[in-house]
Subunit: 330 residues, 2 copies
Amino acid sequence: MEALDYENLYTSYLTKVTNRIENYVKPEEPVSLYVPFKYIMTAGGKRIRAVLPMIACGAVGGNPEDALDCGVAVEILHNFTLVHDDIMDKSPMRRNKPTIHTKWDEPTAILTGDVMIGHALKLLPDAEKNKNSCEIIKTFSQGLIEVCEGQAYDMQFNNKKDVKIEDYILMITKKTARLLETSAVIGGYIGDGNENQILALRNYANSLGLAFQIQDDLLDIMADESELGKTIGLDIAEGKKTFLIIKALEKAEKPKDKSLLKRFLQNNGLSKEYIPDMQDLFKRLGVFNDAQIRINEYFQKAESETYKLLENDYTAMLRWLLSRLNKRKK
Amino acid sequence: MEALDYENLYTSYLTKVTNRIENYVKPEEPVSLYVPFKYIMTAGGKRIRAVLPMIACGAVGGNPEDALDCGVAVEILHNFTLVHDDIMDKSPMRRNKPTIHTKWDEPTAILTGDVMIGHALKLLPDAEKNKNSCEIIKTFSQGLIEVCEGQAYDMQFNNKKDVKIEDYILMITKKTARLLETSAVIGGYIGDGNENQILALRNYANSLGLAFQIQDDLLDIMADESELGKTIGLDIAEGKKTFLIIKALEKAEKPKDKSLLKRFLQNNGLSKEYIPDMQDLFKRLGVFNDAQIRINEYFQKAESETYKLLENDYTAMLRWLLSRLNKRKK
């Protein structure tokens, strides 16, 4: 298959996901729950967590379509985290639309997130449908636990001045990578992959997730605003302890650099006019480069895992997905 | 067995639950999640949802101890609903202690509740431990969904002037009775009960839950404050659409009565000095009596279901539990 074929197949999976979501999430009673549920689930997003189980299932020899409901389940779980994170972070917008707690109110957003977990769980197969049903549910509940732990670490970082790279990697492992792992592993179980294949899928998605998050940190300050589709430098404004900031704190020696970073820490962020200074600082300290090296390493690690899977179009598609994400501009 | 023996057995189950909670919920990293989790789980409460699976398991011929972890799971799920409901209802205190969002903050309370769902799920048995594992997980996820729906209806009632008794029963069926059903049914599955027994356990717990909630409504305004352990009339102050209020709205004819109820609706509650007027109104309209009749009917219905179970000490204990709850003063 050619790159264009993968793109087409990916799009066809996305369409299946969209249709299944439309068909599952109905604006029924109580409407105060199900209208916001439908609102967030039909607002788009990249939906990698929804498509990944299908490709992973194919990569171990299963029928990708069998993993559709699990993909929707993990996508619902992911969206639940967004709904609750947006309350915690007081974010007014998501995907160019008002967040649920902004459009409705906080109680609605809390409760909508809660019920979404129940529906995600309901979409997982029982033992009659899939013999690995128990492993799937275990993977799912562990994913839920760890994504919450990741968010907890992220919030703890707000009040912590000495975040180390290892702390940061642990946080993004849980907050970003774990649900991608959940997707890939569940897909592998649906396709009845063996232990080694499941582990390869887990490692693939873990590395993909880590690369993806560091890329996000980089895009936030380096991207072309018109391509990114949002203002750049939001992480700086919000005082986020990104890969770049932590690396810069490690490497800064000049008093001027240290003082800029100190001001960032003390004020929990810096206003827009400091963005060029920060960009300059990151460039001079070589942290953009450090980030890019780390991203490449993770993408390579992810690719190396794919050779432990069946050599078929789906496994090739997992590799294509890496290069597609590596090139992303938003 | 005598009443005292049941009381002792119940207490021994409670001790097992407490020990298991102490042993499972550790204040580990991230502490911003697990310290509040431990805080809510060790703050007491009636723990009927934790003990019920053990008794139900015995009532279908199983070993009650096998249902311990499931009891803890449903207790965690119940406590998750309390943590999130307390945010939504802005309640400062629960069980004589500050609520999590008061002692810490809202993000902490949201995230603690979320991770609790994951841990509850993790405590359910897999197929190796119990052959009804899938039914147990389905019962659990349906319970989660419906308890959220119940809370959504309850919140919708705040802005609804014409709540009917059927709406109210649907709300408390989901908000209060469903998790008791979840407990009893899961206990039945652990003990490998047959379909009729599972249904009897479900109906038993459903009726018990409905009786329990209407009793709560009644106790809120009729109890002896020193026995109840909290101020009476909170439902009146908060403008809650209780069984009593809805019945009173149905039955009131005199302009004076209608005007008092109208004021209650318009102001979303009435201040403390109106409590004697409300008590008087409820008495004259016979709604205390209506509530007591309904409670008795539900307790009788619950009892009748127990005759479909094995005739053993555990089934007798289910009946003892009804009379114990029927007599409660708080």
